[in-house]
């Protein structure tokens, strides 16, 4: 084999870029943390972190902002994964905030927008200075403008007009005390890249990503699982369907899609052929307005 025969394909390059980003943060920040929900993007994120520091353990803890509306399978997967890698997990509980009155339940029962305050409190109280998220620029058009290193002010806010130019692979993570940097190692990945990588690396995921039988009810054109999020309401009929989840989030606004894709290859085929984005298909919170994501990001959302 001659030198020029060594070809890195697109997944090799995306992996190498993400590993480089993890190591830069480890080298330059005092208290990084990885946002980990048990969803596919944060599971890939954790897999990349493990590879970046191998054979040493990942030198950061994990943080989950738990809406209290998660499916049991996902929480079990989260805890199993944390234990497998021997990591420390911080949980910021939206339920605690609601119980003691710091946050009020919304009329529609959706808790995704309520995550911002517990997230920012956890960052402040633990003095985290770098917060890894699994956000991808292909998810949504406000995210398309996000930097890999995204500076947040003392209130956690994203200010699109104050973003730093991001040059070569020289990341500038300097920040003032109280500010922090959100870091997105999967910025340049697409949903399909994530699935192809899950297949290539044989990454374990919660079973709800694959087709299974489930009792669901229809709301806003999405199949929701019954649970403590006010469903099914009167007139919403409970039916059994073969479904899978494309994203994992708050149960009140994250829907399942009807699907027969029971393994990774079938999921990849389905995602390739899909005519809907994962957020458009399964996230009610992103349908609220043309700038729903931009507004939440400005407030300090993921």
């Amino acid at each position: 084999m001659t030198l020029t025969d060594i070809r890195l394909d697109a997944l090799d390059r995306l992996e190498s870029e993400a590993v480089h980003i993890f190591r830069e943060v480890a080298g330059e920040f005092d208290r990084p943390v990885i946002l980990f929900s048990g969803g596919k993007d944060s599971t890939v994120l954790l897999h990349l972190a493990v590879k970046a520091f191998w054979p040493a353990p990942v030198p950061f803890p994990l943080l989950h902002v738990d809406t209290g509306h998660n499916l049991d399978e996902v929480i079990e997967f989260r805890d199993r994964t944390v234990e497998r890698y021997g990591l420390r997990l911080h949980v910021a509980s939206v339920q605690d905030y609601i119980d003691d009155g710091r946050l009020a339940e919304r009329a529609d029962g959706t808790r995704n927008p309520l995550q911002t305050v517990p997230l920012l409190d956890a960052i402040t109280n633990n003095k985290f200075d770098a917060v890894f998220g699994g956000g991808r620029r292909d998810e949504e058009r406000a995210r398309a403008k996000e930097r890999i290193f995204s500076l947040r002010n003392a209130f956690g806010q994203w200010e699109p007009r104050r973003q730093r130019p991001e040059l070569w692979n020289l990341y500038n993570g300097r920040h003032k005390p109280g500010e922090h940097v959100r870091v997105f190692p999967l910025s340049n990945w697409t949903e399909l890249d994530v699935w192809r990588y899950i297949e290539r690396e044989r990454i374990d995921l919660p079973q709800i990503y694959y087709a299974h039988q489930r009792q669901v009810f229809k709301r806003d054109g999405m199949w929701l699982t019954p649970g403590p999020w006010f469903g099914p309401a009167d007139g919403e009929e409970l039916v059994t369907k073969t479904v899978r989840y494309r994203t994992v989030g708050d149960g009140s606004c994250t829907g399942a899609v009807e699907s027969d894709a029971a393994d990774i290859a079938a999921v990849i085929a389905e995602v390739s052929a899909s005519r809907l984005t994962e957020r458009g298909a399964t996230r009610a919170d992103d349908r609220l307005s043309e700038a729903a994501m931009e507004d939440r990001k400005r407030e300090g959302y993921f």
Partner: protein, 434 residues
């Protein structure tokens, strides 16, 4: 054709590209068209564009709405910030940095161009090559973007006139060659982003054009290889240490190969200390490698126990870069406040950040005449100039034209952390053009 191949085992290249153009050249529309015609836009995104277009009183969907992501951009109908877009065909995966072309153009173009292997410049067929086209091309040449495409847009508005296209192509190709581009690194294509001519599908309206469509060109243009043949360069990011039964007293140096190739047994020098050793092993979590090439993230183990920390550079003994604390550089100034001689700043080079002093401002690149002006008093936002830099600690430097990754640096404001400039090691400034 299907925009996304379903065969998951296919190995694809990755092509990073940037777009640049003046206001109203239709760049967002072109990018929107590329996404739309490669079926990279999904139904819900398209529905949103249709709804918004109807709200704006338009009869056809405004594809630029696919790209302009921020509320203020949609309100003003302009693109403010670099946006990243992703599309794929069975042949390649594309990462596209869409850079806006108005006042902040240098800042945005430099950002997009710094990682690009190819840039698409847009001109309006009715206006031809304008001053900003020449400036953009000069910035792309300075940043070392290997290939250019000139998309002559709105060709429908000049009635698909071959002669009009030929004049523009000839003028641009001459300018690109004056900037140092060889003829085969430049391609000129007549397109209409609005109608779709020659973007993805070949147009029946331009029978006189026999070249590839824009997408065909992007799919087949040689991806500039990583500099495998250049001397090995490895900025140390992090020292991986552990002590387990499986890995007793493990000490490895983690980083991404910036240039060249390394194999176990190669003799290396650690800079700036100058200590030498031999590579004993190249580790990855997927197993040991017999060699590592530019672009790979790996962990190197050395035969000798020498002091190495983040910020050091590992290079071959036989081809080490010069280590210096004083050097010439070209700066693209991105700060709001102007640069004046004597400024105290931070320089981030590779994985090392050091204090630095900008000495004299040797020359400024005049964007009006594309000539250089000697001894300017200051460098303003979006201006490009040549300076003398002194650093508190010596740095292992390559000329940017030789090795992009180890010839590049950031200038950072020590007080507020702002990125002030893109820095390129070396004295060569953009040539003064035709």
């Amino acid at each position: 054709m299907s925009g996304l191949a379903s065969d998951s085992t296919t190995q694809r290249d990755l092509l990073r590209l940037a777009t640049a153009g003046s206001v109203d050249d239709g760049k967002s529309t072109l990018v929107g068209r590329l996404l739309y015609d490669t079926k990279s836009v999904l139904a819900d995104q398209l529905d949103a564009v249709h709804r918004a277009s109807v709200d704006k009183g338009l009869s056809t969907p405004d594809l630029s709405l696919l790209v302009d992501g921020l509320r203020s951009e949609r309100e003003q109908g302009i693109t403010i910030d670099v946006a990243y877009r992703y599309f794929a065909t069975p042949a390649r995966t594309f990462v596209l940095a869409d850079t806006p072309g108005h006042v902040q153009y240098t800042r945005n173009t430099v950002t997009g161009a710094s990682t690009a292997q190819l840039a698409i410049l847009l001109v309006d067929a009715r206006k031809g090559v304008v001053e900003q086209t020449r400036r953009h091309a000069a910035v792309l040449a300075l940043l070392g973007v290997p290939r250019l495409v000139l998309a002559v847009n709105k060709i429908d508005l000049v009635d698909y006139d071959e002669a009009a296209f030929a004049v523009i192509a000839k003028e641009f190709e001459a300018h690109a060659q004056a900037l140092g581009y060889s003829p085969d690194a430049v391609r000129t294509i007549p397109v209409s982003a609005l109608v779709g001519d020659n973007v993805v599908d070949r147009s029946a309206n331009t029978p006189w054009y026999s070249g590839p469509t824009l997408l065909e060109h992007l799919e087949t243009v040689p991806v500039e290889p990583d500099p495998h043949d250049a001397a090995f360069r490895f900025p140390v990011q992090y020292v991986v240490r552990t002590n387990t039964a499986e890995h007793p007293d493990y000490r490895g140096y983690a980083g991404q190969v910036a240039a060249g190739t390394i194999r176990p047994g190669d003799e290396v020098v650690v800079l700036p200390s100058g200590r030498t050793s031999t590579v004993s092993r190249i580790d990855t979590p997927d197993g040991e490698l017999s060699e590592a090439v530019a672009g790979q993230s790996v962990t190197l183990l050395l035969a000798d126990d020498i002091d190495i920390t983040r910020g050091d550079l590992i290079a071959p003994v036989a081809a080490a870069p010069a280590v210096s604390d004083e050097f010439d550089a070209t700066l693209a100034w991105l700060g709001d406040k102007p640069l004046r001689p004597g400024a105290r700043v931070l320089v981030k080079h590779g994985t090392r950040t050091v204090q630095a002093l900008i000495g004299e401002l040797a020359a400024r690149f005049d964007e009006q005449t594309l000539a250089t002006v000697d001894g300017p008093e200051s460098l303003e936002l979006n201006e490009i100039g040549r300076v003398r830099v002194r650093t508190a600690e010596p740095l292992p430097l390559d000329d940017y034209t030789a090795v992009r990754r180890t010839g590049a640096f950031l200038v950072i404001d020590a007080a507020d952390g702002t990125t002030l400039a893109a820095g390129l090691v070396g004295a060569s400034l953009v040539s003064s053009g035709p």
